[in-house]
């Protein structure tokens, strides 16, 4: 069976019965989603009936009609509003900016922050990425202060995140007192040692799975015990093996969150990113969600694209935000990132939630468009979505998502 899944005995679709939707077989059920993220889980006979056409007397009618799945009772105005809200027509600009501070000097930092604030958008997130805080502390210090002031001057909410492998307690204190969220880069291998503290106190973690990473539930407990608020798990490698290992680990991790999440403060950044339901909510989505800046002041389409000359957009000293649409790289990544333009994604039930950043395709498959059927990044995101959708019949899962302000009803 292909990634999209297929029926043993396919049903027949009668014109005028079903409104636009995609389907996916999940076990013995059929998941249907519309283009704007509304969904329903049907049995196979129910799905056959739905495609053949149902009337108001059918028990499926009250389930499917309010969710906009019936062609005969379709709310065109509401659908147009949702299309506007969720499509690129509502995009305001990249909200996330990764500043790769290693090798950046103060003048470069100043120009970079100024470029970031030339980008439109209702709010800005600056992620300061560095390895060891000692090596770049003056730049971190300056960016934290300057970005805060620029936010006040432009009257825009600014969120600052400092992501590092190590920093001293003084440095962590400084960042905390300046409202900077701290994120620690971790490598997970084997089982956690509950008594072992992370390198520094942080609210967020980016945790790359090692080949031997085991006991996801115990790791979730470890994150919870050390006061983390959210975690983004990363696969050990972007190949078939890495994707399978990631899917197993993530499933266990999310399972723990479903069981204990209501009482715990820990959140899964993958789930939040995907269920945001907009291309510009997907972490690392080139230009739409993120721009990245390296130590030499070069601007890239995303952090994943950093050091790729083909995805360099220019220099913070000379580039203007309004020039971006005219650059060939911009057109190329935006076209390649849209699920409607990808043969597999355009038919996928997770199309309203998911897309693989073109820079990830380029890095791992050699081209911006990638080959979705063999893409490990696609398998990973599909696996996460399968896990979430399979759990939506569980009230605990719905309560957890509700707590995270995700509306999946």
């Amino acid at each position: 069976m292909s990634k999209l899944t297929s029926f043993e005995k396919p049903p027949k679709a009668r014109p005028g019965a079903a409104a636009p939707h995609q389907f996916r077989l999940l076990g013995k059920k059929v998941l249907i989603t519309d283009e704007h993220g509304r969904w329903a889980l049907l049995t196979i006979p129910e799905y056959r009936r739905f495609l053949a056409g149902i009337g108001p007397e059918d028990p499926l009618w009250p389930v499917l009609q309010p969710r906009g799945f019936l062609a005969g009772a379709y709310d065109f105005d509401a659908a147009a509003r949702r299309q506007f809200e969720r499509s690129l027509l509502s995009w305001k600009g990249p909200g996330s900016h990764a500043l790769l501070l290693d090798g950046m000097d103060l003048d470069g930092a100043r120009r970079t922050v100024e470029f970031v604030f030339s980008c439109p958008g209702p709010q800005l997130t600056l992620e300061l990425v560095f390895d060891d805080a000692d090596a770049v502390w003056p730049v971190v210090w300056f960016v934290a202060q300057y970005a805060r002031r620029k936010g006040e001057w432009s009257r825009r909410p600014v969120f600052l995140i400092a992501r590092a492998r190590s920093m001293s307690p003084d440095q962590a204190d400084f960042l905390r007192s300046h409202g900077v969220t701290r994120c620690v880069d971790l490598a997970l291998d084997g089982k956690p040692d509950m008594a072992k503290a992370p390198a520094f106190r942080a609210q967020r973690a980016r945790a790359r799975l090692g080949p031997g990473a085991a006991e996801p539930a115990a790791w979730a407990r470890w994150f919870e015990a050390w006061g983390f608020e959210s975690v983004r798990l990363l696969p050990s490698s972007l190949d078939e093996k890495g994707a399978e290992a990631f899917a197993r680990f993530h499933s266990g991790f999310f399972g723990w969150l479903i069981e204990h999440g209501e009482g715990a403060g820990l959140r899964d950044e993958w789930v939040l990113g995907l269920l945001g339901g907009r291309l510009w909510n997907l972490p690392g989505m080139d230009i739409l969600e993120q721009l990245a800046y390296d130590g030499a002041g070069r601007v890239y389409t995303s952090e994943e694209a950093a050091a790729d000359a083909e995805l360099a957009l220019g220099s913070v000293s000379t580039l203007r935000y309004q020039d971006l649409p005219r650059l060939p790289a911009t057109g190329a990544v935006i076209a390649a990132s849209h699920p409607d333009d990808q043969p597999l994604c355009s038919q996928c039930a997770y199309r309203p939630f998911c897309a693989v950043p073109p820079s990830v395709n380029k890095k791992h498959q050699g081209g911006l468009w990638g080959q979705t059927p063999s893409s490990a990044a696609c398998s990973i995101q599909m696996g996460i979505m399968d896990r979430i959708l399979e759990s939506l019949n569980d009230e605990k899962c719905l309560n957890l998502l509700n707590k995270w302000s995700v509306d999946m009803v």
């Binding site: 299309q83 506007f84 390198a199």
Partner: protein, 191 residues
């Protein structure tokens, strides 16, 4: 009512539909070849099913877009799958592709209308869904002289911060008196 029924147009008697011959793949030890009638199967479903095989097979398409297309499937990893299994999977996907394309074709006018309406909302021809969406963008900022002075001050503060840092580094603390909880944890872990 009765007469109405009588006058209603009678459906023309259809000659028994010719069922398309089941696609019989030609299978060898290296590959599977399927010849498909484009009119029966549809061009898009054939392309769609071929694309979906790309993770397991090398796919070669040849023939006439308006007539018959031959699909040749060769396993990428002969140990993982066989040409026969590939052919079966292709046919299964092809059948589901026909359903997907039928749903898509049936709804093409709906999707076009919705996209058009959404563009009209974006253009302001139709009112936006909420006031928040219509909120004006923050104006591009021009720095005042005061703000420029503050940046200069900030930079001089960074310089003094660097000085303090360097001074701190030079004060020895062999017993780790100044070490915080996190540093002590790290030392204990190392031990």
């Amino acid at each position: 009512m009765k007469s109405k029924k009588k006058t209603a147009k009678k459906a023309p008697k259809l000659s028994p539909k010719k069922k398309p011959a089941a696609v019989a793949p030609k299978i060898s030890s290296l590959e599977a070849a399927l010849t498909l009638d484009v009119k029966t199967e549809g061009l898009e479903p054939v392309f769609g099913a071929a694309y979906l095989m790309m993770d397991k097979a090398f796919v070669q398409l040849s023939g006439d877009r308006a007539g018959k297309i031959t699909v040749i499937l060769r396993p990428k990893d002969p140990k993982a799958t066989t040409p026969k299994a590939l052919a079966e999977e292709f046919l299964s996907d092809l059948a589901s592709q026909k359903v997907r394309w039928a749903i898509s074709r049936n709804n093409q006018p709906v999707r076009e209308f919705i996209a058009e309406q959404a563009v009209l909302i974006a253009n302001g021809t139709i009112p936006p869904p909420s006031a928040a969406e219509a909120a004006p963008e923050p104006a591009a900022e021009e720095l005042t002289a005061e703000q420029r002075a503050e940046i200069e001050k900030l930079i001089s503060e960074v310089e003094s911060e660097i000085k303090t840092m360097n001074e701190k580094k030079s004060v020895p603390d062999p017993k780790g008196i100044k070490a915080s909880w996190e540093e002590k944890q790290e030392q204990e872990n190392k031990a």
